[in-house]
């Protein structure tokens, strides 16, 4: 690999980087730099995550005891709907691709930017246009349909369905444009030597995600538009009172929303691969399988939507086929977990915060996976469907995929984003709190669901009280952990130790070939890639020849400002 670039960057005296080369609000709002757009998205999704998180705490507070605790049934229905809609449309779907993907993907493949920088900025504005449209509906008349908008309830309720649905329709374009941009970027912008088999697995994950975003999102768009038309013009499509078919809506909705689960989970898989590779200093076991199975899952993900509808009134034959396909997609997903575990074998495992999140993922995600098998099983889903078992399963998959992987990735790339380290001890404590809090919140919900507690219930029968209270206590621990993350990350922004260019001793281009903070165009010179992303034994630029000790390359996050990493 070319090894001169980093040193050259270091020499440039007043260090010019993407954060300081232009200043002022306008330079941010009109930026075409993928890294800055990533940070714009970061601020946006964190804002919505906080809103969604506060709503979640309110839900758990209301459920602290049977009957009314702090709000009416009607308010509760609005709050759980908003929690779901905000977390899914405004956090989970954009979080990893639009924030971390935007920031890291072009650098990881050795490109100066994404293929269409203006489109990239436009997608951020479209995101906000969609979000604000949703907010108009929510503020003026609320939303009480559940994030699934099932008809005919959603055509009959007086709440702001039309606005919210139009907002989600607009948001879809933001998602489509990001996906389109990534696909073209990966195909056309790779640095010399960056072959498909040398792509970092995070890039593979994003690539697979982009396929889903492009193919599935239009279906949701059409469905939501039809729903809006039905509400406004009274055309009978889904509402039986107008001659429509409510089950048709469910088919359309899940045709998008099941693949959307993979929009949330596939990039997370990519992050886990990066973290496991870097912090065990070993190649990912079965790189090819992990890379291609993401793409396979992206396509198979389109064929399993009916497993949400075993008791909805679809035929038994359809349910049977969907169940079988569901199991077939479960296998490659499970095998990925085994690959990650195997990658740790005989590695050199460095327990830092990002890896802690990856390990938490490898604990939490299999629980989501196994319970997914139960829900995919025809005879077991019948009693478990629409209970807290589903709620718990969904959170085990989505919080592990969306939140734990996002936090792991954020802690991993944080030094590269801002050139500063965070307090490692506090970060490990927070990771522990989040892990414990999450499990205390959601594990009891599996038991609640098995016992028959239906989801979306404002009130419950008294025998469920104890488990509900346990779950609520868990939500406080989880909240405390997240608050701690916010605190030390904000502190790091202002007073964090300066980070070296490659604090983790990672092997991908964003660490090996950019400065402490990347320059506006990422590289002084486009790097030439000569090895795979996890070929640490070939990575002279990190460790030098013969694997000699290079403390600087792997300076732990403590003490004095580390030296720039060695480059010979």
């Amino acid at each position: 690999m070319a090894t001169q670039t980093v040193a050259a960057t270091k020499m440039a005296q007043p260090e010019i980087n993407y954060l300081n080369h232009e200043r002022g609000l306008k330079s941010w709002l009109l930026t075409l730099d993928h890294k800055r757009i990533g940070l714009l998205y970061l601020v946006s999704v964190v804002f919505f995550f906080i809103v969604g998180g506060i709503l979640a705490l309110l839900i758990r507070w209301e459920l602290l005891q049977p009957g009314q605790t702090i709000m009416s049934a009607e308010t509760y229905n609005h709050i759980f709907t908003l929690h779901g809609a905000i977390m899914i449309f405004l956090f989970l779907i954009p979080a990893v691709p639009a924030v971390l993907g935007n920031f890291a993907l072009p650098i990881m493949i050795g490109a100066k930017d994404v293929a269409f920088p203006r489109l990239n900025l436009a997608s951020w504005y479209i995101f906000w246009l969609g979000a604000l449209t949703m907010l108009v509906g929510i503020v003026t008349s609320g939303l009480d349909t559940g994030w699934t908008f099932y008809t005919p309830y959603s055509t009959m309720t007086s709440s702001g369905v039309t606005w919210v649905v139009l907002g989600a329709f607009i948001l879809g374009f933001s998602s489509i444009l990001t996906g389109l941009n990534f696909i073209v970027t990966v195909h056309k912008m790779r640095a010399p030597g960056m072959t498909w088999s040398r792509l970092p697995l995070f890039v593979w994950g994003l690539y697979a995600t982009s396929i889903v975003q492009i193919l599935a999102t239009p279906v949701l768009g059409i469905t939501l538009l039809l729903l809006a038309l039905e509400r406004i013009l009274k055309i009978g499509i889904f509402d039986p009172a107008l001659g429509g078919d409510p089950v048709l809506f469910q088919h359309f909705f899940w045709f998008y929303s099941h693949p959307a689960v993979y929009i949330m989970i596939l990039p997370a898989f990519g992050i886990i691969s990066e973290l496991v590779g870097t912090f065990s200093r070993k190649g990912i076991f079965g790189y090819k399988f992990v890379a291609l199975s993401s793409v396979a899952i992206a396509f198979l993900g389109f064929l399993v939507w009916g497993h949400h509808m075993y008791v909805a009134g679809q035929s038994a034959t359809a349910s049977t086929i969907f169940s079988l396909l569901t199991f077939l997609i479960g296998v490659p997903t499970g095998v990925k977990v085994l690959n990650w575990i195997a990658s740790l074998y005989r590695g050199s495992i460095w327990l830092r915060t990002p890896l802690l999140y990856a390990l938490a993922f490898l604990f939490v995600f299999p629980i989501g996976g196994f319970t997914g098998i139960a829900l995919g099983t025809l005879g077991l889903d019948v009693p478990l469907h629409d209970t807290y078992f589903v709620v718990a399963h969904f959170h085990y998959v989505m919080v592990s995929g969306g939140l734990l992987a996002f936090l792991g990735g954020l802690h991993y790339w944080w030094p590269k984003m801002f050139g500063r380290l965070y307090n490692e001890k506090l970060a490990q404590l927070a990771a522990l709190l989040i892990f414990v809090g999450f499990n205390v919140t959601f594990f009891p919900q599996f038991i609640l669901g098995t016992q028959g507690m239906p989801r979306r219930y404002f009130d419950y029968v008294p025998e469920f009280t104890l488990l509900h209270q346990l779950s609520t206590v868990g939500s406080w621990i989880l909240g405390a952990g997240l608050l701690l993350v916010a605190a030390y990350l904000l502190h790091s922004l202002v007073k964090g130790q300066p980070a070296p260019a490659n604090p983790w001793g990672a092997g991908t281009l964003e660490w090996t070939h950019t400065g402490r903070i990347p320059s506006p165009h990422n590289f002084e010179r486009i790097p030439v890639v000569t090895r795979g992303p996890y070929d640490y034994h070939l990575a002279e630029e990190i460790f030098g020849n013969g694997h000699q000790g290079q403390e600087a390359a792997v300076t732990p996050a403590q003490g004095q400002a580390p030296q720039p990493e060695s480059t010979r």
Partner: protein
């Protein structure tokens, strides 16, 4: 051992009170057992590797591990076999849940925002209380008058969405008399969580009795109750009130008349005779009539018998 703990743990599975519930539960326990073992394996291996191979020196450089095709093949094949077992098992249970026996007792269910209405074959209607006999398959034919609801009885392990403008159905055979909670499992608006009902499982005989008395005020005058039973029990199809001959003797002028039986003996039709004729129709058959009256009237309550006798007395 583990399965035993699970089986005994009331904290895990709800009460099982239908014929299909034990089958669902065995599958559930199989799934839980295998999943737990695999999970312990995965997390155990992870923990072991993290401890055993933790970084001891900053410059450590592990040798790349050669990938073994056999291992990769094994962990693709074994999970595939496991999920196919679970799939097939789940399919069998599902088909059983899905296929109602042809002789199932059918009850019509209407879902409303936010209550359930049940209508029995004899026209009796109840709200939020579903009465069924134990040990007999019951089929619910369900429809909604507004939005989608879902009929869910955890103790029976059954659930089915209830849609407007079409029928869906669900069947179960309750095995234990008692009361079980019905939840609406599909979000249906403000009072969704208040849309609760009870399934009251009666021993078979008691169910018949319940059905007879249902919807009838306890203080209804005997003659009036008798008239109602004449109608509800479809006595009219065999016994006229106007003296015409149907399958059985007319009620007109029956009370106090002298009956001649097949064996030539005679008796005056007093209260005790009528009681016997209703509850044990085959004991003495009136000459010239076939012995076809069903014995099922034996399940009538004491008061109902008295009411019918009173009704017949009035047909002079």
């Amino acid at each position: 051992m583990y399965a035993m703990i699970l089986l005994q743990s009331t904290a895990w599975l709800p009460e099982a009170a239908s014929s299909v519930a034990p089958e669902v539960d065995s599958l559930f326990l199989f799934w839980a057992l295998v999943s737990t073992l695999l999970f312990i394996g995965v997390v155990g291996a992870m923990t072991f590797f993290v401890v055993r191979y933790r970084r001891r020196r900053l410059d450590e450089m592990p040798e790349p591990v050669k990938e073994k095709k056999a291992i990769e093949l094994a962990w693709i094949v074994v999970p595939t076999i496991l999920v196919l077992i679970v799939f097939t098992w789940g399919f069998r249970v599902f088909i059983k849940m899905y296929t109602a026996p042809p002789d199932a007792y059918e009850i019509l269910v209407h879902g409303y925002q936010w209550y359930w209405e049940f209508e029995y074959p004899n026209g009796v209607k109840t709200t939020n209380e579903l009465h069924v006999p134990a040990g007999q398959p019951v089929k619910l034919r369900m429809t909604s008058v507004d939005v989608i609801h879902s009929f869910y009885v955890p103790a029976f392990r059954v659930k089915q969405d209830v849609l407007p403008d079409r029928y869906s159905s669900l069947w179960f055979e309750a095995t234990k008399p008692g009361e079980y909670t019905v939840f609406c499992a599909e979000y249906c608006g403000t009072q969704h969580s208040g849309m609760l009902a009870k399934v009251i499982v009666h021993p078979r005989e008691e169910f018949e009795q319940w059905l007879e008395n249902a919807g009838v005020p306890e203080d209804m005058p005997l003659a009036e109750l008798g008239a109602k039973l004449y109608r509800d029990k479809a006595c009219f199809s065999c016994h006229s009130l106007d003296g015409s001959r149907l399958v059985g003797p007319t009620f007109k002028g029956l009370f106090g008349s002298t009956r001649t039986f097949e064996d030539g003996s005679t008796a005056v039709a007093d209260e005790n005779y009528l009681r016997e004729a209703i509850l044990q129709p085959g004991a003495r058959v009136v000459q010239g009539y076939p012995n076809v009256m069903p014995a099922s009237y034996a399940s009538l309550s004491e008061r109902e018998v008295a009411a019918l006798i009173e009704f017949i007395k009035q047909q002079q």
